[in-house]
């Protein structure tokens, strides 16, 4: 039995401790935002925030998380009440198929937590690990820029 704190709520989990966080989130906790993309840390579709860092949840075993808090896209807001960054993605219509987007949002959120108003260069450099295949890059960058502007 282990305890995982996800979006502020502790959960008791009875799973193989080597299970990557991604599978625990999706299957044990029913949080489907984070996606399986490569299982190799090459695409970022599975990105969530652990502690204050964006991580590839497909690679991180649940046993390695310890007491650090896990934040997923479901913790930023809901379809009915999107969070600020999510709303910026809606405003910029920054998705096509959208499969990469949860990972994009979480990596961007980790940057905004640290640098509230990042420059374009900072955003591009920070987002480099995450892949989008539909070519939505310009809109994703625009959405992050918008969320980085003071309200």
């Amino acid at each position: 039995m282990m305890t995982l704190i996800v979006n502020g709520t502790p959960h008791q989990l009875d799973i193989d401790p080597s299970t990557p966080l991604l599978y625990a989130l999706r299957n044990q906790l029913g949080l489907h935002g984070a996606k399986y993309g490569c299982g190799l840390g090459q695409c970022g579709a599975c990105t969530v925030i652990v502690g204050d860092k964006p991580v590839f949840s497909c690679l991180m075993p649940v046993a390695a998380i310890g007491t650090r808090a896990v934040r997923t896209i479901e913790g930023l807001g809901s379809t009915e009440q999107p969070g600020k960054l999510q709303q910026a993605f809606i405003d910029k219509q920054a998705a096509q198929c959208g499969y990469c987007i949860a990972g994009m949002v979480m990596r961007a959120q980790a940057l905004l937590d640290r640098v509230p108003s990042p420059t374009d260069e900072q955003i591009r450099a920070h987002m480099e690990p995450n892949l989008c295949r539909c070519g939505t890059h310009m809109r994703i960058l625009a959405a992050i820029r918008q969320a980085g502007q003071p309200a």
């Binding site: 799973i15 029913g30 090459q42 999510q86 920054a94 096509q96 198929c97 892949l131 070519g135 809109r139």
Partner: protein, 754 residues
């Protein structure tokens, strides 16, 4: 601005031919002749029972196949097309809402489902809005008329005095009827009629507006929207184990230790086909790895050498297709240019590996799938499973973007095969990244050879173009087109590849330049044998052919000492083509002088009309090429597009931006690689694609709206032009012409080494 109402000489004829391309199947009885036409496009082969009707009404003419309204006023609209992430769900809601006179949120849209929607074949080839959108527009307009007539009778008023407001029918005297009240007693199970009026485009309030896509709020907040997210009661997880190469066969495997692993429910072995089923996804993956380690394989036949793949392909037996051959009097040639262009195999590379859920329950196989074609899939699965088609139910659920025929169909076959082995249990299968990257059907490698001559005035007087290509269509015609069936103890044989006929074409798509060419010869060497598994990838042969043609046009312009934009305009008659070129060059500020002291900067231009039938696209790019690294920075892109009547301007812009960036990735980075035995580009480290650092610094898409004109497909319009514009800009920056894709940093670094 030219007058867009004047069609170029043969455009109507081209569109007519496309609408009924290759009428092969009609009966000889004159009276029946008009009633049934068989047409083949990328979306499939259809027999039109009502060829006089617009769009997909030709094949599904009943109004209630497209729209149902119940007595509570609930409006359900049906499309046989699938949402692939391009935004058609929202666009179709807008089209239906406009014609019915209701807010778009009142529309419930049901997409591709073999038990519910019309059969519209594949969602492919930028056909959706033209085929299905047109059908929905006309069906909903006719339903609205029927409701108004019924309401006029009910209210005892003249039908012309009635209007619709917010889903209610309103009379002059203020009396109102809801759609639910009006529909009572109206039978929508009737044929659509030809030439029925639709709304005057001048009155459009919903079409032409940038409505936010209805799927995006869920997608950016983590709501379960994808087939990958389906969770059914009692669902189990499966993974497949593939052979190491195409022709490999299983020598031996000890499945007992795998069967005993925690959570494992079944190990499926059928010939060389292997899969595991477990109660948990991670446990299935752990068991898959163990099964993979336990399997010993006989290797298959070797693959050809990658370094000489184009020469190898060109020597294969060809089916010769004469695409164009015309001669006319022209001024004498004063110079002749010749060039050869090549494109490697490309990987679709969906970010989400393919996934399906299948459930054999009560003698019915239900499959939730992100296929592009639920109806062809049902036919193939029925054959594979020896089940009647009516016992196979395929439901489209969104997946990761596919960009053509990727692993979506194959994984559905996997799910169905495994579900048959564990009846009663819903089975979810997702491929692993390396399975997706090595087993998907790739976009074909292609080569082309072009020769053209200029006269003394710099006008092109002759043009000869040959293109060599495997098929671009290995979609599901039979069970053997599902790759997993090749490994069964009783394997299935894929239907032989067939070319997609022109004018849409496959390998020859966009092989006829839109330019005025008095002497024109275009030959397609269709190569049925494929050493590497291939099928449809976004824009098919158009990507390579436009890369070749628009690169060569630049070479000719240079030889003619003419500005490349002016050179294009002086060879074009179609006013809409000229309009996008002029608009893009204005937006860009062409002719653009690269400022002194920046020798690595260059600009490039390209134009195409997709399939010579669909959207017009012109774009200009500015690049900076770093000689030491071969790295290309896209400083800016300016694009102009004309796709006829625009339904959702921001949706069009999103598609065109995406096409430009995706094409930049194909053009600058991508090649599927292989050695004698295996596909070696097995993940993103071996198949790099564009990342944020390489996205354009600025990208500007300008739309030319044509209210009242037909919808023209736009999703695949920009990929071809972007490749050539990049090649032309790199040539402009470096003084060197590169004709073999990809224009990768490694290639440029080696070629530009000082």
């Amino acid at each position: 601005m030219n007058d867009p109402r004047i069609p170029p000489d043969n455009l109507d004829r081209r569109r007519f031919l496309a609408a009924g391309s290759v009428m092969v199947g009609f009966t000889l009885l004159p009276a029946v002749r008009a009633l049934a036409q068989t047409t083949t496009t990328e979306a499939g082969t259809f027999t039109a029972s009502a060829p006089q009707l617009p769009g997909s009404l030709k094949t599904s003419p009943m109004l209630d196949a497209w729209v149902k309204i119940d007595e509570a006023g609930r409006i359900t609209v049906f499309t046989g097309k699938a949402e692939l992430g391009t935004g058609i769900r929202t666009a179709f809601m807008q089209i239906a809402a406009e014609q019915l006179g209701v807010p778009p949120e009142r529309i419930v849209l049901v997409t591709a489902d073999t038990n519910a929607t019309p059969d519209e074949g594949y969602t492919a080839g930028s056909h959706s809005t033209a085929d299905s959108g047109t059908a929905i527009a006309n069906a909903t307009a006719q339903v609205r008329s029927l409701l108004l007539f019924a309401a006029a009778t009910r209210l005892n008023v003249d039908v012309a005095s009635l209007t619709t407001q917010d889903g209610e029918i309103v009379a002059n005297d203020g009396r109102r009827l809801t759609f639910g009240e009006a529909v009572s007693g109206v039978d929508l199970h009737r044929n659509a009629v030809p030439d029925a009026p639709t709304k005057d485009p001048k009155t459009f309030k919903v079409i032409g507006q940038s409505f936010h896509r209805v799927d995006i709020p869920g997608k950016v907040t983590g709501a379960p929207r994808y087939v990958q997210d389906l969770q059914l009661p009692g669902m189990v997880h499966a993974r497949v184990v593939r052979p190491p190469s195409y022709g490999a066969t299983l020598q031996s495997v000890d499945i007992k230790p795998v069967r005993a692993m925690p959570g494992v429910i079944a190990v499926v072995q059928d010939g060389s086909y292997l899969a595991v089923v477990a109660d948990d996804e991670w446990r299935a993956i752990v068991a898959m790895r163990a099964l993979s380690d336990a399997a010993i394989w006989h290797s298959g036949p070797p693959l050809p050498a990658q370094s000489t793949i184009h020469e190898t392909l060109e020597k294969l037996p060809a089916q010769e297709i004469s695409v164009a051959n015309k001669t006319a009097a022209a001024a004498p040639a004063t110079q002749t240019l010749h060039a050869r262009y090549t494109k490697p195999y490309l990987t679709h590379g969906s970010i989400g590996p393919s996934c399906a859920v299948a459930w054999l329950n009560d003698g019915t196989m239900t499959v939730w799938t992100h296929t592009q074609g639920v109806f062809p899939m049902r036919k193939g699965l029925a054959e594979m499973l020896s089940m009647p088609p009516e016992r196979v139910h395929c439901i489209h659920v969104e997946g990761s973007g596919c960009y053509g025929h990727n692993g979506a169909d194959d994984v559905a076959a996997d799910a169905a095969l495994i579900a048959r082995a564990v009846p009663g249990k819903p089975v979810r299968v997702q491929w692993m990244r390396e399975q997706e990257h090595t087993w998907e059907p790739f976009g074909p490698a292609m080569s082309s050879d072009v020769t053209a001559s200029l006269d003394a005035s710099g006008q092109i007087v002759d043009w000869k173009f040959e293109v060599w290509s495997n098929t671009h269509n290995n979609r599901i015609e039979n069970a053997g087109r599902f790759m997993p069936t090749w490994f069964l103890s009783k394997p299935f044989t894929p239907a032989p590849p067939k070319p997609i006929p022109m004018p849409e074409g496959g390998g020859d798509r966009n092989s006829i330049p839109l330019y005025r060419l008095p002497n024109l010869y275009v030959q397609h060497h269709f190569l049925p044998d494929m050493p590497i598994r291939v099928s449809a990838m976004r824009s098919l042969g158009a990507y390579h052919n436009i890369f070749s043609i628009e690169s060569f046009i630049d070479e000719l312009a240079l030889a003619a000492h003419t500005d490349p934009v002016a050179f294009r305009l002086k060879h074009l008659d179609d006013p809409r083509a000229c309009d996008v070129i002029e608009r893009a060059s204005q937006r860009f500020g062409w002719p653009h002088r690269v400022h002194d002291g920046a020798p690595s900067r260059g600009v490039g231009f390209a134009f195409a009309m997709y399939k010579n039938l669909m959207a017009y696209c012109a774009l200009a790019v500015e690049v900076a090429v770093e000689r030491e690294t071969g790295y290309v920075t896209i400083e800016r892109v300016a694009c102009a597009i004309d796709c006829g009547q625009i339904v959702n301007p921001d949706g069009v812009r999103n598609q065109v931006e995406g096409g430009i960036v995706q094409s930049a990735s194909w053009t600058l980075f991508e090649a599927t690689t292989f050695d004698a035995h295996n596909i070696t580009s097995f993940d993103w480290s071996q198949y790099p694609i564009l990342r944020f650092s390489s996205a354009p610094k600025a990208l500007d898409v300008d739309l030319i709206d044509r209210p009242g004109m037909p919808f023209l497909g736009v999703g695949e319009a920009s990929q071809g032009p972007m490749s050539a514009a990049l090649a032309n800009a790199i040539a402009n920056a470096t003084g060197r012409r590169f004709r073999s894709l990809p224009l990768s940093p490694e290639m440029l670094r080696a070629a530009l080494r000082v």
